[in-house]
Symmetry: C2
């Protein structure tokens, strides 16, 4: 291939990125004016903000969330991932990780002194399914994988898991007593006509499942470093104890910006998604113009 | 003793706390207006802000700091402590910890699966020295303590280590090849006439020493969650690699507030310290009025 090679394995956004969602700075300033009470929240985050988020996230994910017990605000989804892994995995444990998936997942497992069991995502075959090799996942659980960590939509491919895949993942984890950590960071950024199944909405018992999200991507609020984890009260409690020694809490003033999340002006989200979709389509046209390069149409994500 | 018992072992600040240092919110807003470049800084923090901080911290601590290699901005000093410990300690290691000291130190050691070796601070005996039992410290190093973690000013007692103590700590650690992590969070909050020796200023070689500070206390900027670690380039590099999976970075917009640190208006710091000193004196009078209660006059801290 002619031209300058570009490494897309890790991308950060530069100064010409999308604007943060409207009202974010105003919400921050209101937080500052609230004073010390906003600076020193509970480690799991300000109670009244958790109340609002619990309602939003229940509505979004199709299953209730207890603001008191099932939700923690973290300094970014990276922190939520770290805390979730560090609360469920210890040295010598085995963790099933999708290949490919978010680049830091493997590093988190390594930091804990745990062992990664790769599970292949055959993303180029098919678009109805994300393409997870469910036999490999079952085999990972048979080899005693204690935790399954995956992103949905898959980061980096933009593949979205089907209802059938989500159901089988949940069933397998339940059968083997494994914990599921599902990183749904891009789950609001679904391209036109794309459906989405929240794993937690399919469960009767969420004791071993935690869902991670945040407003850094679709909403471009990454400068505030905000994320959430919700689901299992047991795991959330462990995460809070760990947050107390890792970072204390998400920055108190920044937490106030969470009041704008899921409360954007009418039409704003659709417009933002359209803009991402235009970029996707432009890039797809470029890649599809290169002979010998196979590309799956991303169904979601940036 | 009559009256209602109060547990002072852990304190947070409430809504009637001191105001944040002047200019902090304005600096934050300027950061937001800088856009994506301020949101997505290097993991160790924005380069131009590190340039400024390196000069401030060199001036303050009496020894040069390389902005490129010897400084990392973290989401709070708690994060700096976590990253410093997690970058220098692994399961089975021994860590020397002062008793009493910051309550989370022990928990950090436990999280790493390491073993704590306590070193007594006899803070009630004497005010010229903090009262560290240097024989116990030597004995800890003889038992293979790989790291010595301590706060100066000591948190919670407000005792300040003397030049002689700092010199002996540095000498012992050097003799045994141990790493020193010194938490100087309260080192700007020195009461009237109090001198202070920065451990790093006494060293020819800082390869095994990292100093931690932040603007959460004296400057009341805790709502922004900001801290720094500086010193050993090797440890700072490990801390940055770990930060990439723990929290990515201190919130980008919040980092902009660091531009106000060590640049407060003339007289502001002295006035803030006087206000803390008045509280100290009021509390000392109360405690000294209770028969059988021994109290050391805090030389620094909140």
């Amino acid at each position: 291939m002619p031209g300058t090679p570009v490494d897309f394995s890790h991308g950060d956004v530069n100064a010409t990125a999308f604007e943060p969602a409207p009202g974010s700075l105003e919400a921050f300033v209101q937080g500052v004016h609230r004073g010390g009470g906003q600076a020193y929240t509970e480690y799991r985050g300000d109670a009244s903000i958790r109340e609002k988020l619990a309602l939003n996230l229940a509505d979004f994910s199709g299953k209730s969330v207890s603001a008191a017990e099932e939700l923690i605000i973290t300094p970014g989804t990276q922190s939520a991932l770290f805390l979730a892994i560090a609360s469920t995995v210890t040295a010598g444990d085995k963790v099933a990780i999708v290949q490919p998936d978010y680049f830091a997942n493997r590093k988190l497992v390594e930091f804990m002194g745990a062992e990664m069991i790769p599970v292949k995502l055959d993303y180029l075959n098919g678009s109805a399914n994300a393409g997870l090799d469910l036999n490999e996942l079952e085999s990972a659980f048979k080899k005693d994988a204690k935790v399954f960590l995956f992103s949905n939509p898959n980061n980096p491919t933009g593949a979205v898991y089907s209802r059938s895949e989500i159901g089988q993942i949940a069933q397998l984890a339940d059968r083997f007593g494994a914990t599921i950590i599902v990183d749904q960071l891009y789950s609001r950024l679904l391209y036109e006509g794309q459906s989405y199944v929240h794993l937690r909405s399919t469960l009767a018992d969420e004791a071993n499942v935690v869902t991670i999200m945040g407003p850094s991507k679709t909403e471009s609020l990454s400068g505030y470093r905000l994320g959430v984890a919700f689901g299992s009260a047991r795991i959330v409690q462990r995460m809070e104890k760990l947050q107390a020694i890792v970072s204390l809490r998400a920055p108190g003033y920044c937490q106030a910006v969470m009041r704008t999340w899921f409360s954007e002006p009418a039409g704003w989200l659709a417009d933002r998604i359209n803009k991402h979709q235009a970029i996707r389509d432009e890039l797809l046209a470029v890649f599809r113009g290169i002979e010998g390069v196979a590309v799956r149409t991303p169904q979601a994500g940036s």
